[in-house]
């Protein structure tokens, strides 16, 4: 495994910037420029690079879709709306026809994690092979359900690619195209599954839509083991801890605080905050990242530093 690309990072529902959001970014940028003039595009680019990410960029709004770049075969976690730009990028890179194999790992069957599949262009290309891996017995039924009338105009039977389903066994390592993939049951309505991907030199954990019961020490230990020594843990940090244990208890999500604690206990190298709350704007998400980095710093003790990232649509992480 070489890199991880985030194509969709938003939780529950895709969102987009509004005209007001864009206007506020322009005002923030012009305020920061404070009347400066830029003689060359390079000078302008240099200035833009100094602006906060919440001004010069955006976390994006596509729902969960993460690509793990490994070798010849493609590894993808979840088919949220981020699967649409991912599919377009694959067609642009490989062209048609140029048969590819896609391994898709589905955390659970909720809509925000499946909705991108009908828009994933490689599924319409004859010669492609798509293997959909998961642990839910109704995985195939759920995928087919959203691609039939009256939900969608194109029926599942119109897929040009060969689509296969692989029902995985939790807690068992499955050797797939050079990577050991181990699913783990997580607490979420209707169950969700995290995936631990292990190659010879790198480990990535994808753990979204998971609520952590803070008084369950057995489950905590199981989770620490699941995250152990990971180079990157992609973690559901949708709510604040206060929300997750009070008004949003039993909603099936977690917090940045629990992410830091589990990654520290597991000796993980990097934590990517993921499945962002749709109601949070770029300024709020930027602040959340800064606070999470501070929390890691003040609770680190003698341990090596845990690098904290906040995933955004378009982010590529080199492992």
């Amino acid at each position: 495994m070489k890199k991880v690309c985030f194509w969709g990072t938003r939780g529950s529902l895709p969102v987009s910037l509004t005209a007001r959001d864009v206007r506020e970014k322009i005002i923030a940028a012009l305020t920061a420029a404070n009347g400066k003039s830029f003689k060359t595009p390079a000078a302008l680019n240099e200035f833009v690079a100094t602006l906060p990410f919440s001004t010069a960029g955006t976390f994006g709004g596509n729902s969960s879709c993460v690509e793990i770049i490994n070798g010849a075969e493609h590894f993808i976690c979840d088919m949220g709306s981020g699967a649409r730009p991912l599919g377009q990028a694959k067609i642009a890179t490989y062209g048609v026809p140029n048969p590819q194999t896609y391994h898709i790992f589905i955390s659970h069957l909720h809509w925000d994690h499946l909705m991108g599949f009908p828009y994933f262009a490689p599924m319409y290309i004859p010669g492609n092979r798509i293997v959909i891996h998961g642990c839910h017995a109704r995985l195939e039924e759920a995928i087919r359900l959203q691609m039939r009338s009256p939900c969608f105009p194109v029926d599942y039977s119109q897929a040009g690619a060969r689509i296969e389903f692989d029902l995985m066994t939790p807690d068992k390592a499955h050797y797939i195209a050079g990577i050991n993939v181990t699913p783990k049951l997580q607490l979420h309505a209707g169950d969700s599954y995290g995936y631990r991907f292990e190659s010879i030199e790198r480990t990535v954990v994808y753990s979204t839509d998971c609520e952590h019961q803070l008084d369950d020490l057995v489950e905590r230990e199981a989770c620490v083991k699941f995250f152990a020594g990971a180079d990157l843990v992609i973690f559901d940090a949708m709510y604040s801890l206060a929300e997750a244990v009070s008004v949003k208890a039993d909603w099936g999500h977690s917090s940045n605080v629990v992410g830091v604690e589990l990654c520290q206990a597991a000796g993980a190298r990097r934590l990517a905050l993921f499945h962002h709350e749709p109601a949070h704007d770029d300024i709020q998400l930027n602040r959340l990242l800064a606070e999470t980095r501070r929390l890691e710093q003040i609770t680190r003790g003698d341990q090596p530093a845990l690098e904290i990232l906040s995933a955004y649509d378009g982010l590529t992480v080199t492992l």
Binding site: S246, E261, R294, L295
Partner: protein
């Protein structure tokens, strides 16, 4: 876990100290139990003196939330005071400062709660 208590201005002050992590939180829950049982109308408000606490984890914060919720359900008064700066930061980052009454000093808390 031992939680020494004393009364000041009609408020029951409970001294908490050390690290309240995922292991200690169970003991913390047990130690709070008899204090919460008496956290009812007609009894002194319960104020946790956190000046001796140098770390609290998510599990420890959850114990506080449950204690606060229980006290409220019994119409008792439950609050925290004198957080160390680092613990105060943990409260802010976790947003517990928004759901738990926290006072900067025991005197300030007693002025409000003991009235």
């Amino acid at each position: 876990m031992h939680l020494p208590t004393r009364e000041q201005s009609g408020v029951l002050i409970v001294s908490v100290s050390g690290r309240i992590d995922h292991i200690a939180s169970e003991e913390f829950t047990k130690a709070l139990e008899p204090l919460l049982a008496n956290c009812i109308p007609g009894q002194p408000p319960v104020l946790l003196d956190f000046s001796g606490v140098d770390y609290i984890s998510s599990a420890g914060l959850r114990v506080l939330m449950i204690a606060s919720r229980r006290a409220k359900g019994q119409r008792g008064v439950f609050a925290i005071a004198t957080l160390q700066p680092l613990v105060q930061e943990i409260f802010a980052i976790s947003r517990f400062n928004l759901i738990m009454p926290c006072y900067v000093s025991l005197d300030a808390a007693c002025k409000v709660l003991g009235a």
